[in-house]
């Protein structure tokens, strides 16, 4: 069934198809439409779930954690300051090994007050132990929502799926809504590996002494590593049912390229157009889209980038005092590549607080990358310095 829908509703439909049992959320622009549609679905009975209204995002995540410990499939959605307010609870979900799924609509952090997109809200939660998946289209948003539950429940880690404010959240696109029976084949009811039993109550998140804490963190890291393989197998399954695959990392027209762009989110779509135009002119330019940020797809990126002359990483985010975050992560992934195969990496910071990233901006970046042997600095600010 194909429907035209905004990205936010693609999330809602994904949640509906995933037969989520507990939803708890607090409204925040630009996310609100996700839970608005869900509350309608719960109210009209099409989604037989518990919808728990709460007074803050901190409580929303706390309620999801409770629901998940009870063995149910749980979901929430938020943005920016709301995600920041959840910070403590994000650790509880991850450390508690709870497969909570959350949609975060990327919105820049205040102040200055803003509702437009950039990635600093979700990237600030990098080390909380959540899997992070960045989406490019509404179709990918729908698919990823369903996949997120399967991934989360397989490795017992929470998953954050991420979509750009307005460019996806409020923009309508056709979405092929997979039929319920097909989704049911892919995603059966959750079978919790552990859950609370009220007849034999135990404390969850109990004291752990130094003689075991390290091992528990190590197990969490093992699950993160495992998530890379699980994601791949899961995409195989989804592709077999729907014919669609998005990849943890996607290589677009990378054959014999001497310059590769690295992007995430909706900037990817714009970059595809630029690559197509440049290719038409005979230029050997390609594109790498990074969907999976945690666990970081180090091996895939290394394989795709080694041997390429130059790489330009486009970051709609900034780690103040360092640089663009995807650029830093990519640079780190390339450290083990032998020097003769290691590309020169140019980092560009752009599009913060929702500023448009147009094809001409990306053309300027390609031109700048070609014009220099070495980057002047680890980050170049597009629109300020370029």
């Amino acid at each position: 069934m194909k429907k035209v829908m905004i990205g936010n509703h693609a999330v809602s439909w994904g949640v509906l198809r995933s037969r989520v049992e507990v939803i708890s959320a607090y409204p925040i622009t630009p996310q609100t439409q996700i839970v608005e549609a869900l509350s309608d679905m719960v109210a009209d009975g099409s989604l037989p779930a518990q919808y728990i209204k709460v007074e803050s995002e901190h409580s929303a995540m706390a309620a999801c954690i409770g629901g998940s410990i009870a063995g149910t499939r749980t979901f929430t959605a938020t943005s920016a300051q709301g995600l920041a307010l959840m910070h403590e609870m994000l650790h509880w979900a991850a450390g508690g090994r709870l497969p909570v799924v959350m949609a975060n609509v990327n919105r820049a952090m205040a102040p200055g007050w803003t509702i437009w997109t950039d990635q600093n809200d979700s990237l600030s939660q990098r080390d909380t132990g959540w899997i992070q998946l960045y989406c490019e289209t509404n179709q990918e948003v729908f698919d990823t929502t369903i996949q997120a539950f399967k991934l989360a429940e397989t490795v017992n880690l929470p998953v954050m799926l991420v979509l750009d404010a307005f460019f996806l959240s409020h923009t309508s696109e056709p979405v092929d809504v997979t039929e319920q029976e097909d989704v049911d084949l892919f995603l059966p009811q959750r079978e919790a590996t552990f859950k609370m039993d009220t007849s034999d109550p135990h404390a969850f998140g109990a004291l752990v002494r130094p003689d075991a804490y390290t091992e528990m963190r190590w197990q969490q890291q093992e699950s993160m590593r495992e998530a890379r393989d699980v994601f791949r197998q899961m995409e195989d399954e989804w592709e077999a049912i729907t014919g669609r695959r998005h990849g943890a990392v996607e290589a677009y027209r990378t054959e014999d390229a001497d310059l590769l762009l690295v992007t995430s989110g909706t900037i990817t779509s714009t970059a595809r157009t630029v690559v197509d135009e440049r290719r038409a002119d005979g230029e050997k330019v390609g594109l790498i889209k990074v969907k999976m940020f945690r666990p970081f797809p180090t091996d895939e990126l290394r394989g795709l980038l080694a041997g390429v002359d130059r790489v330009a990483v486009l970051d709609r985010n900034i780690s103040p005092g360092h640089g663009g975050i995807f650029a830093e992560e990519t640079r780190s992934a390339l450290y083990d590549v032998p020097p003769e195969d290691r590309p020169t990496l140019f980092g560009y910071v752009l599009g913060l607080g929702g500023r448009d990233v147009t094809p001409s901006v990306i053309n300027d970046i390609i031109d700048n990358t070609r014009s220099k042997d070495q980057p002047e600095r680890e980050d170049l600010w597009v629109g300020v310095e370029l």
């Binding site: 090994r97 109550p201 404390a203 109990a206 528990m216």
Partner: protein, 591 residues
């Protein structure tokens, strides 16, 4: 976990779980030892119950309807109110003014639910008469709401009751004063039949003082005096004496209600702002007249039931406010018009309402064929012996209706101001309790004092069920006789829902008919309306306490109620805070 040096890794052979879950059950930690306050289920009184002059467990029957227990709801209703089909139609329903739901959206339409239940009761055959368990007999003077109420409750208490009614039919002001379009006679008749079926000896066309001398009542062990207020107050209109076109409104109503259709002429002026004035105006309208109500204050001060005023306006009654009749105008010996004085509002009087003051020199003349005066009624107490104390034209009584001269009790319009059907019913009930207590004491029973405060619904009227110590059909948890206020409740769990309004007859047909104008609600609507009741102060098993208890210390009992495991309740107070109805109290007692 292992003892020893915890900073070193555990034995490698040891399987470390992925999640930090306590090895022992948390039941070993009796968190109840932390508390310094503890919750207790304590049902309180809903404000509708406290606000009802009859003393009806309104919240109780709403609860039973909400559970689908309609017959039990009806039984509980008639346990406290002998004539719900009547009060559902004509009561001014102060219960709705006290309804907490008004703070959420709109008050529950209690009168509509009561009416529907009342009609349901009338449709069924009457229950067998209560058993006569007392040898004493009681005389009741007057078969209006006060007299019938007292007779009904006395019969239920096991007494022999004889009711004396001066008119040819029973009902008092319900029959004589209230027009048919508000209270159909078929309903009234059936309601009275039902009360009579409780074993009451009803003697109509028997006026005490003339047909039966007062001294004949000596054969009874007690007397309840409730003859009503039938004397229209003097209109004090200059030149009105002997003018037949100027007549007391109540007389006119009695004629119309007896089936007469007097010719009032084209223009009728009704003087007054109370319910009698509205009844006169709307009845005159139905006789084909153009009607103007003259009231000396403003709409704000009108004592009439607002709904009656609204309906009068909708039917076409005109209103002239801040005007009082002062002089009759005659031409060739015929009445032609009335001269009126314009008023303004001055300082508040003893009733709290601002006193109307004449505006010097501002008069006007209004043409009229008939003037009906409805400015209040006085009581005819001339048949009472002197030893029965009166004050300001009313019989002096105590809280249980006992006059200064026992065994004479009194109630209804001869004791009440302001007067209403509900107050009359409530007074009759109180007097029945007073008489029962008096006669038991006289018979040598050790009855002590009547625990009046305990019998009252949160300071409202008394409960017959409580007095008889009958079993409450609703299991109450440690009931406390205090009215619950809106700020003691938690509105966050309530959803708004519009009030069901009564269905009304199309206004166009009204002028030619005395048929009932208000059709009430359908059964389905009435049940939905009852489900709007918030059950203020009373646990209705909603389960929120159980859901919110962070210690899972609350569980359901077999009877549907809840119990708290005090070994684990740490006194956080969430159950009390979340209870939507204010039925959980935090207390230091018992710790």
């Amino acid at each position: 976990m292992s003892e020893g040096d915890v900073t070193k890794p555990l034995d490698t052979g040891r399987n470390i779980p992925p999640v930090a879950i306590s090895e022992t059950s948390t039941l070993v930690n009796p968190t109840g030892s932390w508390k310094y306050i503890m919750p207790r289920y304590e049902d309180r009184v809903a404000p509708c119950n406290a606000g009802c002059p009859v003393g009806i467990d309104i919240e109780g029957y709403m609860y039973l309807i909400g559970q689908g227990r309609l017959q039990e709801a009806a039984d509980l209703l008639v346990r406290e109110n002998p004539m719900p089909a009547v009060t559902g139609r004509v009561c001014h329903h102060p219960c709705e003014n006290s309804c907490n739901r008004a703070s959420l959206d709109e008050a529950v339409a209690i009168h509509s639910v009561e009416r529907r239940l009342g009609d349901m009761i009338l449709a069924a055959p009457p229950p067998p008469a209560p058993e006569r368990t007392r040898i004493e007999t009681v005389a009741v003077i007057g078969s209006g709401p006060a007299g019938l109420s007292c007779a009904y409750f006395l019969a239920r208490l096991g007494y022999g009751v004889t009711v004396f009614e001066a008119a040819t039919e029973a009902g008092g002001m319900l029959r004589l004063g209230i027009p048919e379009y508000r209270l159909p006679r078929a309903i009234l008749d059936r309601q009275i039949d039902r009360i009579q079926a409780a074993g009451i000896d009803l003697r109509t066309s028997t006026r005490v003082g003339t047909d039966v001398p007062w001294t004949d009542l000596d054969e009874f062990d007690a007397v309840f005096v409730a003859p009503g207020a039938h004397l229209g107050k003097d209109s004090r209109i200059e030149g009105a004496e002997g003018v037949s076109a100027i007549r007391p409104g109540l007389e006119f109503l009695k004629d119309v209600n007896a089936g007469e259709r007097p010719d009032l002429g084209e223009h009728v002026i009704v003087v007054g702002g109370g319910n009698t004035a509205m009844d006169c105006a709307r009845s005159a309208l139905r006789l084909g007249a153009d009607v103007t109500v003259l009231y000396r204050r403003t709409p704000r001060e009108m004592p009439a039931i607002p709904q009656e005023v609204r309906e009068a306006k909708q039917e076409g009654v005109q209103f002239e406010f801040l005007a009082a009749p002062i002089r009759v105008e005659m031409e060739d010996g015929d009445f032609t018009a009335i001269t009126c004085q314009r008023m303004e509002l001055g300082e508040p009087d003893e009733s709290g309402r601002r006193r109307p003051v004449p505006i010097e020199g501002d008069v006007f003349t209004a043409q009229a064929d008939t003037v009906l005066t409805a400015i209040g009624e006085d009581c005819d107490l001339s048949f009472l012996p002197d030893e029965i104390g009166t004050k300001w034209g009313l019989v002096e009584v105590d809280a249980l209706g006992e006059s200064t001269s026992a065994p004479v009790f009194a109630g209804g319009d001869v004791v009440d101001l302001p007067r209403s059907v509900a107050d009359a019913l409530g007074g009759g009930k109180r007097a029945a309790i007073g008489i029962d207590h008096f006669l038991r004491e006289k018979a040598g029973e050790d009855v002590g004092e009547v625990p009046l405060n305990d019998l009252r619904y949160g300071g409202g009227n008394v409960s017959a069920l409580r007095y008889a110590e009958d079993e409450d059909p609703i299991p109450r948890e440690a009931p406390v006789n205090e009215t619950v206020t809106w700020d003691q409740m938690n509105p966050n769990h309530f959803h708004t829902a519009p009030r069901h309004e009564d269905h009304f007859h199309d206004a166009i047909d009204l002028r030619s008919a005395f048929g009932e104008t208000n059709f009430g609600l359908s059964q389905k609507e009435a049940i939905e309306e009852a489900e709007r009741c918030l059950n203020c102060g009373v646990c209705n098993r909603c389960e929120l306490c159980l859901i919110f208890c962070p210690d899972m210390a609350i569980s359901r009992r077999d009877d549907g109620g809840f119990e708290i495991d005090m070994r684990y309740c740490k006194g956080c107070g969430l159950c009390a805070a979340e209870c939507p109805r204010g039925a959980v109290t935090m207390t230091r007692e018992g710790i």
